[in-house]
Homo-oligomer: 165 residues x 2
């Protein structure tokens, strides 16, 4: 697939954004590419278009599948695997929220709970316990919110926004 100038810019921009969000460039660029491609793409096509290696393509496209942002497709009459992306940004946002909750929030909550369990309540640990309690409380709230978001739709989000603003 040969990209025109605007399409290249988009892929590039999305790649940079990914970097800022802790997603690696290749993964984000593959995602961008699949989002603007009308047909599912093969590994070869993706390698060609983005000028990256086979291994890199394979690893990152599978990461996308694991994140629920792309899916493997079979095209009859062809032995290759093809991939396409979820194009609905709300679905994408929810999948990302899900991953981040799992990877960034849950471990902290677990760690804080464990920390509290082993901490003696005395003058020396007072400040520590205050901090841990506050953070845990906050983390649990954010966790709940994300959980809700994961299960909701665009319409819900829009309503919430109206209430807030």
């Amino acid at each position: 697939m040969k990209l025109n100038e605007q399409q290249q810019k988009f892929v590039h921009t999305w790649g940079t954004l990914g970097t800022n969000w802790g997603i690696n460039k290749t993964m984000a660029q593959l995602h961008a590419l699949l989002m603007i491609s009308e047909k599912p793409m093969s590994t070869e096509q993706m390698m060609d278009t983005l000028q990256i290696s086979r291994g890199n393509t394979n690893m990152n496209v599978r990461a996308l599948v694991e994140w629920g942002l792309a899916s493997k497709e079979m095209i009859s009459g062809d032995r290759k695997d093809f991939y396409s992306a979820k194009k609905d940004i709300w679905v994408v946002a929810r999948q990302i929220a899900k991953q981040r909750r799992k990877r960034e929030l849950e471990p902290v909550i677990a760690a804080l709970v464990e920390l509290k369990g082993g901490t003696e309540v005395n003058r020396e640990n007072e400040e520590l316990l205050n901090r841990v309690n506050d953070i845990e409380d906050f983390a649990l709230k954010v966790d709940k919110m994300l959980e809700k978001f994961e299960k909701s739709d665009e319409n819900w989000f829009y309503k919430v926004l109206l209430k807030l603003v």
Copy 2:
């Protein structure tokens, strides 16, 4: 400042968390340390406690100040600079939201707007324009939400949560 076992664990945990959130380990550990310290700390004390170099300490403590997560304090009779952290987790969360909005969201919105501006509306770019519009729309909504969050307090957040869940 000599940390007891629990305090060390806390600093360590917060450091790991920071890493997952794209904040470097030292910055997060310094923040944790200042959060559980009852008194403001000097560069020396922080270096000692965390076993890190002067340069590293200086750079990261200044990053904390820049993020609004710590502040410089003068202690009369001492020439050194001392630092202390915001201890209210709500304040901390809001400051982080502010930074992330500025660094991760605003550049995307700008890039998308620019991209749209230079894109010819034709069959070839149809998919691209759809994606860009959707993403822009979503990004603007999130941006609004974060903006609101930045200006609100714990109580507001709690109310919102009640409505949602």
